[in-house]
């Protein structure tokens, strides 16, 4: 059965997801991810398992050479606390998992890089447990990949789209003041209205675009052989994530219900700019084509 994984920000809220549509939660340790800290991963795993849900740890940074010893310890610790898996962006993590012989699943998520089934097939042959297809390609391409690599791939269906990840600290550099700028910061291109959420930590910056949503086509997506869907509500609170899960539960019933759920989403969140997953277009390669 297709898994639905969802970001949970606050450990205290895990029990509130007991009756939700989610099969698993994504939580993070501050140092090894782009996300806020959940404070106590071991307790998060315990609570998730108490309500029969999986717990995946977000390890979505690229790790610098001097961080490898600590990263190794962290990956071992994840095994010890019996987390169900990790979501990682650095292919070096795959090697470390193999060297450590961990028992949890690894979902490889390099965000922009997995845009075809040949690469995904290659990763599968390498022994990578699962991976997340890039959200930057048209839905038909995503379906093609899922059908050619059945029960192997995840796809992000909801949440702000990560459009840039940098080692640089953009806000600190601009303001000439080093700090952690993690909550409520946005960039706005001079000639456009769209606000782009930006998170900055000691380890770099993460810039997000519009909010991806898949409500209208969700029932159709459920018919395809994905291993799972990810609702990555990274810039929202858990209350909002529970509401989003309800909308997807409704949308799972059919296309018409999906349209109704979408209308609710838009009316409840008029201030946000959404991109429907079915509207992700083939990109132009060149200025001339544009």
């Amino acid at each position: 059965m297709t898994q639905i994984l969802v970001t949970v920000r606050n450990r205290e809220n895990i029990s509130r997801f007991a009756d939700s549509y989610a099969d698993g939660f994504i939580m993070a340790d501050r140092q090894f991810s782009s996300s806020p800290d959940c404070n106590d991963l071991k307790e998060c795993v315990r609570q998730a398992h108490l309500i029969s849900r999986n717990l995946f740890v977000r390890c979505d940074r690229l790790y610098e050479q001097q961080e490898l010893p600590e990263l190794r310890q962290f990956l071992k610790m994840i095994d010890e606390i019996k987390a169900d898996g990790i979501i990682y962006s650095d292919i070096g993590v795959f090697k470390l998992m193999g060297e450590l012989g961990v028992s949890y699943r690894g979902i490889y998520a390099p965000e922009t890089l997995l845009t075809n089934y040949y690469d995904i097939e290659d990763l599968k042959n390498d022994g990578v447990d699962s991976c997340i297809i890039s959200k930057d390609i048209p839905l038909q391409d995503v379906y093609d990949i899922a059908e050619k690599c059945p029960d192997y791939c995840y796809i992000r269906i909801h949440g702000p789209v990560l459009i840039a990840y940098s080692r640089r600290r953009y806000i600190s550099s601009y303001l000439q003041k080093e700090d952690e700028y993690t909550e409520g910061y946005f960039l706005q291109e001079e000639t456009r209205k769209t606000l782009l959420p930006i998170i900055e930590k000691k380890e770099g910056s993460w810039l997000y675009g519009t909010v991806l949503q898949s409500l209208s086509v969700f029932s159709e997506m459920l018919q395809k052989p994905f291993e799972g869907f990810i609702i990555d509500n990274i810039c929202e609170d858990d209350e909002q994530t529970l509401r989003i899960l309800d909308l997807y539960k409704e949308a799972a019933l059919g296309k018409q219900q999906g349209t109704v759920a979408l209308r609710k989403l838009l009316s409840e969140n008029g201030d946000k700019e959404y991109t429907a997953i079915e509207d992700v277009r083939k990109t132009w390669l060149d200025k001339e084509q544009a």
């Binding site: 790790y63 795959f94 845009t115 390498d126 930057d136 953009y170 277009r281 132009w284 390669l285």
Partner: protein, 401 residues
């Protein structure tokens, strides 16, 4: 190990320039499967010619197959790789596991180098590529000197690092700002450089813009000359210059500068302060944006960002050489940028220091004297102080810019 100097080539002229000016290897894209879709790029016939030319000088040729491919992009790839191998291309540079695997299967004589688009910055990631039989890995530009030293001590995978040129603001390959704002695919050769645009910064409802300039993600260009000696000591396989879209003058001046510094190091085991200064002057000739040393000294919030992104290019390159008459010491030059009678110009030749001269007379093709050279592509005859050829560039002396 002799460290290689690797230069970009946007077209055949720039490829020849890079080789004549001292590059040990050149890289370029074909018409398909390559980033920098607006660089001129090479047809299959061009690639054959490029290999013949480079191999004639004992230099190596790498072809970029570095798009982040979509399903359709694999059409024709197998035949393309076989052709490259048949022509004698020494390596491809790719950013895809599947392309690496395919190349090893269908064109096993060619090396496969893993592109910086994969952002390999640690030894465990290197180990993954080693297991897949990659022949070389281009590290992410975010690796600092200390990290590079540790990496070099712990891997036997040949390593390539960038030393000069434009820098992606974000981890290469992990940026789709261009896709969102312009629908041009950064990872398939259409990057609109949206990182260089101006952005307002908000915190909730509060606007945090500075009075003097808006926020830009754009980066200064890299010039790692200051750290070159340290990098050379580490025995990396290759030092890479970025810039397939750059001019032949840029290629010539940057390749000549690094060639000079590398040769000094390889001959003496060190680079003296005077030599560093001289090399820096050569490099700055072709550099027209603010530079910094990249991440080699470590990340610093006060360096690296470029605000108020400049839109004008340096115009110190003034002419190409079309022909030279040894008897009269006169050259026919093709005007590229404005200069005047009385200006001090310099002749730039490979492996040589510049020779300066004052323009005391120039005539057009009808023999009429000309006081101001301001028509691009106009042919003029001038007296030059040393022998020149088609690979010579004439530039204004910096002090008078």
């Amino acid at each position: 190990m002799k460290t290689e100097l690797l230069a970009p080539a946007g077209d055949m002229a720039r490829l020849k320039t890079a080789i004549i000016y001292g590059a040990d290897a050149v890289y370029f894209g074909g018409k398909q499967f390559s980033l920098r879709s607006r660089a001129s790029n090479f047809t299959l016939e061009d690639i054959r010619e490029a290999v013949e030319f480079a191999h004639g000088y004992g230099r190596r040729v790498y072809v970029t197959v570095n798009i982040i491919p979509h399903n359709d992009d694999f059409n024709g790839l197998e035949e393309y790789l076989k052709k490259l191998e048949e022509f004698g291309v020494d390596a491809i540079i790719c950013a895809s596991q599947a392309i690496l695997t395919l190349c090893k299967r269908v064109a096993p004589e060619m090396e496969v180098h893993i592109s910086t688009q994969q952002t390999t910055i640690n030894t465990r990631a290197l180990s993954y590529w080693k297991d897949k039989n990659a022949d070389r890995v281009v590290l992410g530009r975010e690796v600092n000197l200390k990290q590079l030293e540790e990496i070099m001590g712990k891997t036997d995978v040949p390593i390539e690092v960038f030393i000069h040129g434009g820098m992606c603001a974000n981890y290469s390959g992990r940026c789709t700002i261009s896709n969102l704002l312009t629908n041009r695919d950064a990872n398939r050769g259409g990057c609109a450089h949206s990182c260089r645009w101006d952005y307002h910064l908000w915190h909730d409802e509060e606007l945090l813009d500075r009075d003097d300039y808006l926020l830009s993600l754009g980066s200064r260009d890299m010039c790692a000359a200051e750290y070159l000696e340290d990098i050379l000591k580490l025995d990396v396989a290759s030092l890479k210059i970025e810039g397939r879209m750059k001019t032949a003058f840029y290629i010539a001046s940057i390749v000549r500068g690094y060639r000079y510094l590398i040769d000094c190091y390889q001959k003496q085991g060190y680079i003296s302060d005077r030599q560093k200064e001289k090399g820096w002057e050569m490099l700055m000739l072709g550099t027209n944006r603010e530079v910094f040393a990249g991440f080699y000294p470590g990340f610093d919030i006060s360096k690296g960002q470029l605000y108020n992104f400049p839109t004008t290019a340096s115009q110190n390159f003034v002419a190409n050489v079309v022909s030279y008459d040894r008897d009269s010491s006169e050259a026919v030059i093709e005007v590229r940028n404005h200069f005047e009678k009385g200006d001090t110009l310099a002749v730039m030749n490979p492996y040589q220091e510049d020779v300066t001269f004052i323009v005391d007379k120039m005539t057009d093709t009808d023999g009429e004297e000309v006081a101001v050279a301001n028509r691009p592509l106009q042919l003029l005859r001038i007296k030059v102080p040393v022998e020149v050829n088609e690979y010579t560039f004439v530039h204004l002396v910096k002090e008078q810019l």
